[in-house]
Amino acid sequence: MTSGEEFAEFAEAASPQLRRTAFLLCGNWHTAEDLVQTTLAKVFVSWRKIRRRDAVRAYAARTLVNTYLADKRSKRSAEIPTDRFPERPVEPHAPETRMVVLGVLATLPPRARTVVVLRYWEDLSVEQVAAVLGCSPGNVKSLAAGALGKLRAVLGEALTGYDPAGRRPEEQPEVRDTRHG
């Protein structure tokens, strides 16, 4: 088996989960698939150097995030943050929650959104997220707190009794992207 075939086997196995992560970052399945393809191409370039299997998945996740953030930086001027939900709900059982969560994610600046996805979806520690983003752990914590506060506030309004203790939006700390803000 050549390294190309070996890589293809990894890519085949890893792409569904990577595409889910990409979807949470960009909120659109087409863009998510493009992001995954670009990410995996970069992983192939460094394939030999990351052949330790346990490290490949983490390397791919980091590459995905960097690709997403670089993409956002280059397109920033052409894109306006939206409050609209990126897709219509397709799930019968939890349509409201899905819409609300996607809606909140869409309003987050790219780095805050990345923090939420890495911290709670990819299960990275605060220090690991800080290493990926090249910022301080304190910065990660404040971005995460801000994003969660927003989620809690909106969900508290949309879903009766979901989180009755949740603070109202005006009480939430402002979510700021320190690199661009």
Binding site: G4, F23, F44, V101, L148
Partner: protein, 406 residues
């Protein structure tokens, strides 16, 4: 709102997934194009983005540690450090080269070009031949592709004809009688290949019952492999005739390097137990039991998360192990009588202490650092670094192994 409920919310947000396209195949094609472009940039002398992710091959290091102790003395005469005689060979994986260093004069010679991307290197017991095992294509100025074992004649510093393995290699050891090389082909081939070194012909690969990552050999020829399981890493003996694996011993964390004591009684497995803690676990090879891990504490370096390389070498008298930490530029001595770590030796330069070897006379350790393009000698009696030896180019991959010939 706790972490579990946030995760549940994100899962809800994903909802129904549309079918996925041929992502694996298209990304492979795109990746090949990217590689080609990067090579053209390098060849044209343009600035290329350099990503270093070196993996130290414990097999190469392990072999070094197995030199018979009787030939060496660990202490040197009093007075200033004098470099030992002999030649060190540094393997540059991405560049597809092996660079000789004359130790007495501390100067690097002309790189020996090898086929493909060398991933592991070991030295025959007579120390006249080194063997590199390769995988895929290197990214040197004139890239070549090979999945082979290639002998290097250390008396003339010339590479011999590659012995084709038809699958990428991960680790290599040579039997104490120098007659056979054993190559581990890890994921996904999961095989052990024997190569008859008298005729340089490979045998039929033996499929193993797990995906091996490394192979380490004791001085008496007993070999051990590590296997990655779903939840951990197992360390176990391997029958080199049949490929049958012995009783597994679960290791804590992710083993980055393994060395066996010169008397063959103990293996030392260096692991990252978490993203911030490095430990060395002594393994009693007779009883097949793991001792209490030696905590190297280490400064929490969040960058360790992506599996920085570790390398470990043991002095010929078996008294001290030296652990090189690829995430930094430090080497930590460990007293093997008491299993206690000493003060880390800071080598300076960029982080990337990726490979380590100890001279047969036991006086000096040599640490290869690709990001700095250097090999730094350490005077072991004083525990101090000497002037780094500059190694020409670095290209885009690590110095993954270093061996020393007399």
């Amino acid at each position: 709102m706790d972490e579990t409920s946030v995760r549940a919310l994100l899962e809800t947000a994903i909802g129904d997934e549309p079918p996925i396209g041929p992502v694996a195949r298209s990304s492979l094609r795109a990746g090949i194009r990217l590689r080609r472009r990067a090579r053209i940039r390098r060849a044209a002398g343009g600035a290329a983005v350099v990503i270093v992710f070196a993996v130290v091959i414990p097999a190469a290091i392990g072999t070094l540690a197995n030199t018979p102790a009787s030939r060496h003395h660990a202490t040197r005469p009093p007075g200033p450090w004098v470099p030992p005689n002999g030649t060190a060979y540094v393997m540059n994986s991405g560049g597809g080269t092996v660079t000789p260093i004359d130790l007495a004069t501390s100067t690097a010679g002309k790189p020996i070009i090898v086929s493909g991307e060398p991933v592991a290197m070991t030295i025959a017991p007579d120390r006249k031949t080194a063997y590199v095992a390769s995988s895929a294509t290197n990214s040197g100025p004139e890239p070549t592709s090979a999945q082979a074992v290639q002998p290097i004649d250390l008396t003339t510093n010339t590479a011999g004809k590659p012995i084709d393995l038809q699958s990428p290699a991960d680790a290599i050891v040579v039997s104490p009688d120098g007659k056979t090389a054993y190559i581990i082909n890890g994921f996904p081939s999961r095989t052990l290949t024997r190569v008859d070194l008298a005729t340089n012909t490979p045998g039929k690969p033996i499929t193993l019952s797990g995906a091996p990552e490394t192979i380490t050999m004791a001085a008496d020829g007993t070999a051990y492999v590590t296997i990655q399981t779903a939840t951990a890493y197992d360390f176990m003996p391997i029958d080199l005739a049949t490929g049958k694996l012995g009783k597994p011993l679960k290791l804590s964390g992710q083993p980055g390097a393994i060395a066996i004591s010169p008397d063959g009684s103990t293996a030392y497995a260096a692991s990252q137990s978490s993203s911030t803690v490095i430990t060395v676990t002594p393994i009693n090879l007779t009883a097949s039991t793991a001792g209490k891990p030696i905590n190297l504490g280490g400064k929490p370096e969040p960058t360790n998360y992506y599996g920085e390389p570790l390398a470990i070498a043991i002095t010929p008298d078996g008294k001290t192990a030296y652990l090189a930490n690829g995430a930094s530029s430090t080497v930590t001595p460990i007293n093997l009588a008491t299993n206690t770590p000493g003060k880390p030796i800071n080598l300076g330069g960029k982080p990337g202490a990726d490979a380590i070897a100890i001279s047969p006379d036991g006086t000096t350790a040599y640490v290869a650092n690709q990001p700095s393009s250097t090999v730094t000698p350490i005077d072991l009696a004083a525990g101090t670094p000497e002037k780094p030896i500059k190694i020409g180019h670095g290209w885009d991959s690590g110095f993954e192994a270093i061996v020393i010939a007399p």
